[in-house]
Amino acid sequence: MGLIEGAAGQLNTVGYIVLMMIGIYAMTGKSNLVKKLVGMNIFQWSIILFVVSLSAKRDASIPIVLDGHGGGAAPVLDAAQYANPLPQVLMLTAIVVGVAITGVALALLLRIHRQFGTLEENELLERLDASSGS
């Protein structure tokens, strides 16, 4: 099982590259700060999609042992039957950290709006220049 040759390898590769381009465009091309944050979220989920796609296998089940309660002896597991749980658990952490980052960024946006009265980047830069020049 190669690196990208998972269950839906080529398709998900195309999907996450497209989503990553959309996120980069929103972060660099848009001037509203909330739009930039929306782009950051899309970028983050595209990377999570990439890593979760690495864990998928063809004809594999979810990573829960099927006959875990049967018999006394430990069941013999075939790893090819289950999706790889390690990238999934790592991305679980990444999702929670991403929500924390989004919360801190939104708190900063509220503070910026309270001080300068706008969230557009070009107006913000003008007001910063005006306040530092005078």
Binding site: A7, A8, L11, N12, V14, G15, V18, L19, I22, G23, Y25, A26, K30, S31, N32, V34, K35, L37, V38, G39, N41, I42, W45, I48, L49, V52, S53, S55, A56, K57, A60, S61, I62, P63, A83, Q88, V89, M91, L92, I95, V96, G98, V99, T102, G103, L106, L109, L110, H113, T118, L119, E120
Partner: protein, 81 residues
Amino acid sequence: MIGSLDVVLLVLSVVCAVAAVQVRDLLASVVLLAAFSLFMCLLWTELGAVDVAFTEAAVGAGVTTVLFVITVYKTDRVSRD
């Protein structure tokens, strides 16, 4: 069958992402981001990552949307671009 479901979910999530970036009303942008997050959640259920899927549905589509809506409510709703 699973392959065609994958195509449908990827196309829908890309459409939602483009609409969330392009629309001028920021509240509509946030709601479209929640829909995007929901499609990603369905995509991860299809990929066999159920724990990531329900964390995404609760935290990504729920808490993130609430935080964004509060921010848009307290600041400007209309974006220039």
